[in-house]
Subunit: 338 residues, 2 copies
């Protein structure tokens, strides 16, 4: 490959107007067009046949796209070398065989960790102050607190347990810093050095983590091994007055066990993710007394999606200058993704 | 006064079992009893006649008490020198004339600032992610988000405006630090030095503050000058997509103007305080679309009331050793209190 083709590879950009508005606002679009003056920009959504036709016409070496892009056909392997995906879940977009045959794929990766961590802090504080309850009681039942001793708790000085110690947990540790909490985490594959840098205690087991956490935060990856790993046994180890927050993957937690702990032990719960999404209308979670529910809003709020666009630009620049790609998805990551 | 009477002044402690449990748990009670081995402990609540009888019998130089204590009769001035109040609002407990005649009074003061700041951060994040709405929609209407572009915002990088720059604002600035926000404040009486130390911009006027704040936090004191100082004119200066949070005093804000801004401009609101408390059942605030409501829970959560007890002990130690009292309430503070 000579320098010219390297610096002017065929590039195809596919996104809806809304996706462009959020991920690639004018300043970022200008940088993108400066990098690839000859790029082809196609408006999504596209029908599957339009998509195949576009691919066979353009034969792009690089694709930059977001949610509203159809699956890649296997024959894209003939020309496509790098898929720069602006969003998270790539499994419906990219068949595994394309990664096996060497396609480079990156996604929003760590660029969204801070907004997910922000949502986590929100749900922690909301669970402690019973915001889900008060929202319903104040807005739909005309209620007010009874007396001067409400059933609320502060985060200051509490013990926080993180099940999972990836990029989101690292951002969360930063947000928790002013609250002077004691943080433990369970994530066997993470080296001691990371725990030390973050000033986080390594829990010896999930049992250790759950039994010593006033605030338990679920951030474990959604890999098959973790299916329902959090059930009655672990949940019942939580100390009195503990709160339970899940912002990771719904499949990690047995929701029926949560429902039992809420009804029988008064566990306070705050959830952004669920075993089945959208959460079924008749889910018993919706009718618990002490729960704050969000409809999987943890991921980047629309106003911060430009951070994903910036990361994508960095990766595109890295690609053309033969530097390593950030958040490159290997087969291991692919198999763990949801 | 000789040293003996100075170190063993007559001390009367009045509180309910619940108040004792929260404000003066065993470790603090032990410190209190070590300081004043001869103290008299009376269980609240007390009827007014029991209270007067107790006072005339014990003639305490120092009283330590909490909410469930009747008003002090003016004749307490004959013996009482220091009222160490474990809670906040002292106006129903202490007639102004007692302070005029030299009674020293302290309250929980700055020891509660961090939990109020915590509640403020919670309401900021809740307003940005529309938690009040989602709580009602998920729990009572079986709803889920529509599409990938929800009407939510992140706090990262936003402009935060503080109306008021007292102890709570100072704690809030600490909690906001990891969010890399740009903070402005309007509080004319606060010296430039404080703004500089906190890295907060001094807004030139309330108009300046409101027109440059994506997140407007009301923390202005509830003095008569501030009655309804925030009305249509200021609220309409808020930028598009701004959120409005009040954790200070309800009387500062014209609630009808908030209702209009919510209905006509889609302003997102989060409130912990109201013009009339308890908030009337038929308040139009309860039926707005985009609002998160708490029933005045900002003050110290029960688990942090021991911080107020610790401050009280510090003050009692200061009193017997002739050191300055922390959060001493002068006539100016008394007149501004609610």
């Amino acid at each position: 490959m000579n320098m010219k083709s390297r610096s002017h590879p065929p590039v195809l950009v596919v996104m809806t107007q809304q996706e462009k508005h959020e991920f690639m606002p004018p300043d970022l679009e200008a940088r993108l067009r400066a990098l690839f003056p000859e790029l082809v920009w196609a408006d999504a959504p596209l029908r599957d046949d339009q998509w195949r036709e576009l691919l066979s016409e353009q034969r792009p070496e690089i694709i930059l796209c977001a949610w509203e892009t159809p699956s890649l056909p296997p024959e894209a392997a003939e020309h496509l070398k790098y898929l720069c995906f602006l969003c998270g879940s790539i499994r419906s977009l990219v068949p595994r065989e394309l990664i096996e045959s060497g396609l480079k794929v990156t996604n929003w990766g760590s660029s969204v960790s801070n907004t997910v961590a922000e949502c986590t802090l929100l749900l922690i504080l909301a669970a402690l102050r019973r915001v889900g309850n008060w929202s319903v009681a104040m807005r739909t039942k005309g209620e007010w607190k009874k007396g001067r001793h409400p059933d609320t708790l502060s985060l200051f000085g509490r013990r926080v347990g993180l099940h999972g110690l990836g990029a989101i947990s690292c951002e969360l540790v930063r947000l928790l810093e002013p609250f002077r909490v004691q943080i433990s985490a369970y994530s066997p594959s993470v080296p001691d050095e990371t725990y030390k840098t973050l000033n986080v205690r390594r829990a010896e087991s999930l049992e250790d983590l759950f039994s010593t956490s006033d605030v338990l935060v679920e951030l474990a990856p959604g890999k098959p091994d973790n299916y329902h790993i959090v059930g009655d046994d672990l949940i019942n180890l939580l100390p009195e007055n503990a709160v339970f927050v899940n912002v990771g993957r719904g499949m990690v937690v047995d929701e029926q066990a949560l429902v039992r702990a809420s009804r029988e032990r008064g566990l306070h719960i705050a959830l952004d993710v669920y075993e089945v999404e959208p959460l079924p209308v008749d889910s018993p979670l919706r009718s618990l007394d002490n729960i704050t529910l969000l409809p999987h809003l943890g991921g980047p709020t629309p106003d911060r999606r430009r951070d994903c666009g910036k990361l994508a630009l960095q990766n595109l620049e890295n690609y053309v200058s033969d530097k390593p790609l950030i958040n490159l998805i290997d087969l291991n990551t692919y198999d763990r993704a949801t």
